[in-house]
């Protein structure tokens, strides 16, 4: 895997760290629910799922 593509995953990790922490996480701290899933949980699960998809694509494309 080329350095550049490895660094995509490193940046993903940094972005996840920021999204999962104060203050960004507080943006989603709303008393409301989406299909019965409170927004706070919903947003965390969404970031989580998104990161899985991104790593899957990056690895699928660039891992030799």
């Amino acid at each position: 895997m080329k350095r550049r593509h490895e660094q995509k995953l490193v940046i993903l990790s940094i972005v996840l760290f920021l999204c999962f922490n104060v203050p960004i996480i507080l943006i989603f701290d709303i008393n409301y629910a989406f299909f019965g899933i409170p927004i706070l949980y919903f947003s965390i699960f969404s970031f989580w799922a998104l990161s899985i998809i991104i790593s899957y694509i990056v690895l699928k494309k660039h891992y030799e």
């Binding site: 895997m1 490895e6 995953l9 490193v10 993903l12 990790s13 996840l16 760290f17 999962f20 922490n21 104060v22 203050p23 996480i25 507080l26 701290d29 008393n31 629910a33 299909f35 019965g36 899933i37 409170p38 706070l40 949980y41 965390i44 699960f45 989580w48 799922a49 990161s51 899985i52 790593s55 899957y56 690895l59 891992y63």
Partner: protein, 875 residues
């Protein structure tokens, strides 16, 4: 046994590796998360968010760790850390002790979960009898201990893979996830009417908002510290190191793990809140929330489902206990027991006995670990929640973090610093986390927690120096990590480094550069004999394996078999060989007993390493150089061949020219002779004819000489173009006009009806020369009986293209590349003798190139050749 099936394909599937890493999810996840979700809301999540953040980094970090471990036959986290700091015996032992202290409560958590879930399932109430023999947990613990002790210790080389254990851990990971999902779906969609239904009902209860919100900025710190804690745990937990590093078969399995493991965790966590809320709604506040997953199906009479849930929890426990104790027993034997006690005994005994001894040590370690965990459970765990016990374990294990992570990136970190840092960090953890609950459960007084020791409020264990907004684990993590890290950094830079330490530091951190050096990367000076080293190896590996290994070594480095003196490479090689069986610390001690090492300075070590690195890059450079040279030679050869060819062409040309000049000259001479000899008798018509012949021949002669001069001028740049604006159509027509009578004589039709008007700048005389050349060439080669020549032009972008096409045989493939070369005459000219000088096309090429254009030829299938030239429009 499964160990033997390791050749099977599916056993080596990357998914097995990914699933085995899910040994991270234990009873704590299985039961504990629901408890937290029901009681305090969102805080069960950070334990999984840390790994989710960490796993993408594995593409760099884990790969490096795996590479280093494979190269050095590392078999545990204790080996890894102690080897990084110069194969330090005490550091390895310290890491082992910390790990045991951290993992014993963790195993007790599993025992607690098993015993409590078993009670719920069998509907017996747990009465804490003082006689442990009436306690079912005791029997569960003993059975588990026996199972783990014999299952995990079938090989002495701990760096070898335990495929059976990994495969069953992977299988158990499937079981626990599937059963947890089943209960999740059951609660959400069978007991309730989907997620919306649960939410609507639970949101009407009191204090619900607390469960779905962040509860302020202060808990943001708790949250952050818990994420950092679990981030470290996924690297440092001995069982995680075991499955992700030691048991890794191929580096490329990471490709799948990096996305699969977070997915596994996501699936595991999705239904947690719904099970928790469903339990709260149906079972009320009094029931133990940790076992909602069991209680809910039991309440509704679904005993079978409850049994499945129990089995899921049980498999989570089994895999955790087996893998953890396997990892810990290796550490205990290789890093604590053997180097600190059994080494001298081992070096006297025979190999078979040693192997058995090592196995026995590991078995006893596993057994006593589980029994220790049982005792911990009996004394402390009963009052603590699963979540609380798990976090205590994590905080203790996290003390290895600074040494581990800095060790991977910072060369100056030292063993001394690592030891002091870990001890100080542990002392803080002990004071702020372990001591309070110990005192509480021993004396049943909360005075220490509430008022601090001797009533000093600043020293209150849960709010040291008045930091009172953190939860106890986060608080302990913060203080211990702060002092651990600072101590590590300060001590590291306060003392000069040790050369051995620095040697390994370079190896670990610059792994990519040193991996090609292999055994050469180990710097050592002194005196050693192969026979002595062989003796040591024999003791542990047996004669056969030793011979085989040494044979391989000698062959690899191209050394004679009867080498007497051992070098650094052999010493490093033998240490690695022994490391698997008895750990790196013991291996170092054993080998250093039979060799005489000289002290080297740090600077010297760095110099030697630098040199061997340079040697390698030197070799690489040399290889590249020789490759370049070969290429150059090839090029020279080609050039030479070309020169020979050109030379031959020139000779041919001179022949042709000489012949050509000779022919008209002979004609002139013969005619002149005749005219002189028979001047009087010759009729005047005949005389006229001879004179005409002489004129023609001298014309031809001068044309040829002009051509040669012309070409010479063009190639040596002694000519400048006289470019003016002309109409290309008119120039072409002019050319054709002058050639028309020759065409008519030879029955050739020239079609130029398609020519378009183009105004552009060029040297008209020169371009006419080119067109003349091309047309005469075409006339020479076109069909004899029915010759046809087409002339067209077109504008393509910024260029004008002129094509002259004939209907001859086309150009033979072997000529196509040379046809524009000077002196070149096609071998297959269909005329009896070559006409022209062989310079026409060469001159044309020069002219076109002077106009910044291009000229080339192409064959048209079955219908002759096409000469094309291209001129730029705004020249």
């Amino acid at each position: 046994m499964a160990e033997k099936k390791s050749e099977n394909k599916w056993v080596n599937h990357p998914l097995v590796y990914s699933l085995s890493i899910a040994v991270y999810c234990t009873a704590w996840t299985y039961y504990g998360s629901v408890g937290i979700a029901a009681e305090s809301g969102i805080s069960f999540l950070p334990i999984y968010l840390g790994p989710v953040i960490a796993v993408p980094l594995w593409i760099i970090a884990m790969r490096k760790i795996i590479r280093i471990s494979k190269q050095n036959k590392i078999s545990s986290i204790a080996d890894f850390i102690s080897l990084r700091y110069g194969n330090h015996r005490f550091l390895g032992a310290l890491v082992t002790i910390i790990s045991v202290l951290g993992i014993v409560p963790y195993i007790s958590l599993q025992l607690k979960a098993i015993s409590e879930s078993f009670e719920i399932l069998t509907n017996t109430s747990h009465s804490l009898t003082h006689n442990i023999f009436y306690d079912t947990t005791f029997y569960i613990a003993v059975i588990l201990a026996l199972f783990a002790a014999f299952y995990g210790t079938q090989k002495t080389d701990a760096s070898e893979k335990h495929r059976g254990i990994v495969v069953s851990a992977a299988f158990e990971s499937i079981v626990k996830l599937v059963f947890f999902l089943v209960i999740g779906v059951y609660v959400t969609f069978y007991l309730f009417d989907g997620t919306q239904d649960i939410y609507d009902r639970i949101s009407k209860t009191e204090n619900f908002e607390k469960l779905i919100s962040f509860n302020g900025l202060e808990s943001g710190f708790n949250w952050l510290f818990m994420i950092m804690l679990s981030f470290m745990a996924i690297f440092l937990l001995p069982r995680q190191f075991q499955v992700s590093v030691v048991e890794n078969l191929r580096e490329r399995h990471l490709k799948h793990t990096i996305w699969f493991f977070p997915l596994y965790l996501l699936l595991f966590n999705f239904f947690v809140i719904f099970i928790a809320w469903g339990g709260k709604l149906n079972l009320g506040e009094t029931a133990n929330a940790e076992y909602f997953a069991l209680l809910l199906p039991l309440q509704n009479g679904n005993t079978f489902l409850a049994l499945l849930v129990f089995l899921g929890g049980f498999s989570a426990v089994i895999s955790m206990v087996v893998v953890s104790t396997l990892a810990l027993s290796t550490m205990l034997s290789n890093n604590l027991i053997i180097p600190y006690g059994y080494l001298s005994k081992f070096s006297k005994a025979d190999p078979e006995k040693n192997t058995n001894n090592i196995k026995t040590i590991r078995r006893i370690s596993i057994f006593s670990l589980i029994i220790l965990a049982f005792l911990f459970y009996r004394s402390f765990s009963i009052e603590l929640s699963l979540y609380a016990i798990g976090l205590i374990s994590f905080v203790i294990i996290a003390q290895l973090g600074p040494s581990f992570f800095f060790g991977l990136v910072w060369k100056r970190g030292s063993a001394r610093a690592s030891i002091v840092g870990i001890i100080i960090g542990f002392l803080f953890t002990f004071y702020t986390l372990i001591l309070p609950f110990t005192i509480q459960s021993l004396t049943e007084s909360t005075f220490f927690v509430e008022n601090g020791p001797f009533g000093i409020a600043l020293l209150k264990p849960y709010s040291l120096l008045g930091v009172d907004f953190l939860s106890p684990p986060a608080h302990a993590f913060f203080w211990s990590m702060l002092f651990n890290t600072i101590t590590f950094l300060v001590v590291s830079i306060s003392f000069r480094g040790n050369y051995r330490e620095r040697n390994y530091a370079e190896l670990f951190i610059d792994n990519k550069n040193y991996s090609s050096l292999q055994d050469n990367a180990f710097v050592w000076k002194g005196e050693a004999y192969v026979s002595n080293i062989k003796n040591v190896l024999n003791k542990f590996l047996g004669t056969e394996r030793t011979e085989r290994a040494l044979d391989l070594f000698f062959r690899k480095y191209d050394l004679p078999k009867d080498t007497e003196k051992a070098d650094a490479r052999l010493i490093n090689f033998s240490e690695k060989l022994l490391t698997g069986s008895i750990g790196s610390a013991s291996a170092k001690i054993l080998i250093s007993n039979v060799i005489k090492e000289e002290e080297i300075s740090l600077i010297e070590v760095l110099k030697i390493l630098e040199e061997s690195k340079e040697n390698i890059s030197h070799n690489k450079n040399l290889q590249e150089k020789s490759k370049e040279l070969t290429q150059l030679t090839d090029q020279l050869k080609n050039a030479n061949n070309e020169l020979i060819f050109k030379d031959k062409q020139k000779d041919d040309f001179l022949d042709t020219v000489a012949h050509e000049i000779k022919t008209p000259l002979t004609g002139i001479r013969a005619a002149t002779e005749l005219l002189i000899d028979d001047e009087d008798e010759m009729p005047s018509e005949l005389k006229q004819k001879f004179l005409n012949n002489i004129l023609q021949d001298s014309d031809r002669l001068s044309r040829m000489i002009n051509n040669i001069l012309d070409f010479e001028k063009l190639t040596t740049d002694r000519i400048s173009l006289d470019s003016k604006t002309h109409n290309l159509k008119k120039s072409i027509e002019k050319t054709i006009e002058s050639l028309m009578h020759i065409a008519n004589q030879n029955n050739i039709s020239i079609d130029f009806s398609q020519i378009k008007d183009v105004e552009m700048r060029y040297d008209e005389d020169r371009i006419i020369q080119v067109i003349t050349n091309l047309i005469s060439n075409a006339m020479k080669f076109c069909d004899k009986a029915n010759g046809k020549i087409f002339i067209t032009n077109k504008i393509a972008g910024n260029e004008v293209e002129v094509c002259v096409t004939d209907n001859g045989k086309g150009i033979p493939m072997e000529d196509i590349n040379y046809i524009f070369d000077k002196f070149y005459q096609s071998k297959n000219q269909n005329t009896k003798k070559p006409e022209g000088s062989g310079l026409g096309l060469a001159i044309s090429k020069q002219i076109i190139e002077k106009h910044q254009g291009k000229i080339w030829v192409e064959n048209i299938k079955n219908s002759g050749a096409r000469f094309v030239f291209k001129l730029p429009l705004n020249n």
